[in-house]
């Protein structure tokens, strides 16, 4: 797009000043000027910078419509999906500061390495365990059963990492499994078909597990899907404590 066309599309509010993190763990902010546009999202801004001002800017996105969970960044101090965040809602006095998500190693600029985040998903036994032998018949799960309701409350997570970036406990204790993995474990604890509950409850206990949560509720505050990992973690604390009370282990 030519400079004239870019200017023509800018609305009357003029320019945005965008500070973008450049580098990896060590680096600094680079400032860009981007034209304001109607209905502009933060992802639009990043894409415009990358395509028209600096092609070396690294960031990650895929679907652009809030389905894939790959475009999360820290926008003016708050972790959010950039594709679903309008500039008008996030800018402060025409200024936007973009940083990579916290609590994960920075690959380059705004792209982080999410491997540890996904490893913890696995470490928390965040996968369905069918047991040694397949079930003989379909499990009947009533939609209004308490277990199904608990699972429903957290099952829409798409692994974007926003909660993990927002979590203070992860920043203090890098081994902590984090809200997303624990939320997933809680949905499976409430899956009546699952045969791996003992191993899962062991996995979410210990110094990396649910009992380390301080209930700051940052995960619940920032989750773009309006899920409440804090309550999932509280559920895990309850179930694991009850297990100790009953069995002593």
């Amino acid at each position: 797009m030519s400079a004239a066309a870019t200017a023509a599309r800018a609305d009357a509010d003029g320019q945005l000043t965008v500070r973008v993190w450049r580098g990896a763990e060590h680096g600094g902010f680079q400032t860009f000027q981007v034209a304001r546009r109607a209905n502009q999202t933060i992802l639009d801004v990043v894409t415009e910078i990358q395509r028209e001002q600096d092609a070396t800017l690294a960031y990650r996105y895929a679907c652009r419509v809030g389905m894939c969970g790959s475009c999360a960044m820290v926008v003016n101090g708050r972790p959010r999906w950039t594709c679903r965040t309008r500039v008008a809602r996030a800018e402060e006095g025409g200024q936007i500061t973009l940083e990579p998500m916290r609590n994960m190693p920075v690959v380059k600029d705004l792209a982080v390495d999410m491997e540890s985040f996904f490893e913890k998903w696995r470490d928390a036994k965040g996968f369905f365990e069918p047991g040694e032998t397949p079930a003989n018949d379909f499990a009947v799960v009533r939609p209004d059963s308490p277990e199904r309701a608990q699972a429903d409350a957290g099952v829409e997570c798409i692994n974007c990492g926003v909660c993990y970036s927002a979590c203070d406990v992860v920043s203090w204790n890098p081994e902590y499994l984090g809200p997303a993995a624990l939320n997933r474990a809680w949905t499976l604890v409430n899956d009546v078909r699952d045969r791996g509950q003992d191993a899962r409850l062991d996995a979410v206990s210990g110094d990396a597990g649910c009992h380390s949560c301080h209930s700051h509720m940052s995960c619940t505050e920032f989750c773009p899907k309006a899920l409440a990992p804090t309550y999932a973690i509280a559920g895990l604390k309850r179930v694991t404590a009850r297990r100790v009370w009953k069995r002593g282990s």
């Binding site: 409850l201 206990s205 110094d207 597990g209 009992h211 380390s212 694991t240 100790v244």
Partner: protein, 109 residues
């Protein structure tokens, strides 16, 4: 923190919520009532109920505090592992020993 430590900390927290309240209210009541140290000792000496209350209080504190301290140290320092757990057992022993000694001293004075 394991589920066992978590449960121990929560259960002792319930005991402490009650014990600390009784402890503080008693202190304020005794001081505002103008009791001297001698008056207080006269009431506590040989009082089995007083001793039992403070034994429970001290044991709850000796369990509760090191669990919390362990979490704080794990979050704010790189200290981990068996040495940390042993040190916290030491803290528990010190709290229990000093507390029980004080409770017994006031009981047996």
């Amino acid at each position: 923190m394991s589920a066992r430590l978590y449960l121990a900390q929560r259960l002792t927290a319930m005991v402490l919520a009650f014990a600390v309240t009784v402890h503080l209210v008693t202190i304020v009541y005794a001081v505002r009532g103008g009791l001297t140290a001698g008056d207080i000792l006269a009431r506590t000496t040989g009082n089995v109920g007083f001793l039992a209350f403070y034994v429970v209080f001290v044991i709850a504190a000796a369990i509760h505090a090191p669990i919390g301290l362990r979490s704080v140290l794990r979050e704010w320092t790189p200290w981990r592992g068996r040495s940390l757990d042993l040190a916290m057992l030491g803290v528990a022993a010190v709290i229990a020993a000093l507390g029980l000694r004080a409770a017994y001293a006031v009981y047996a004075a």
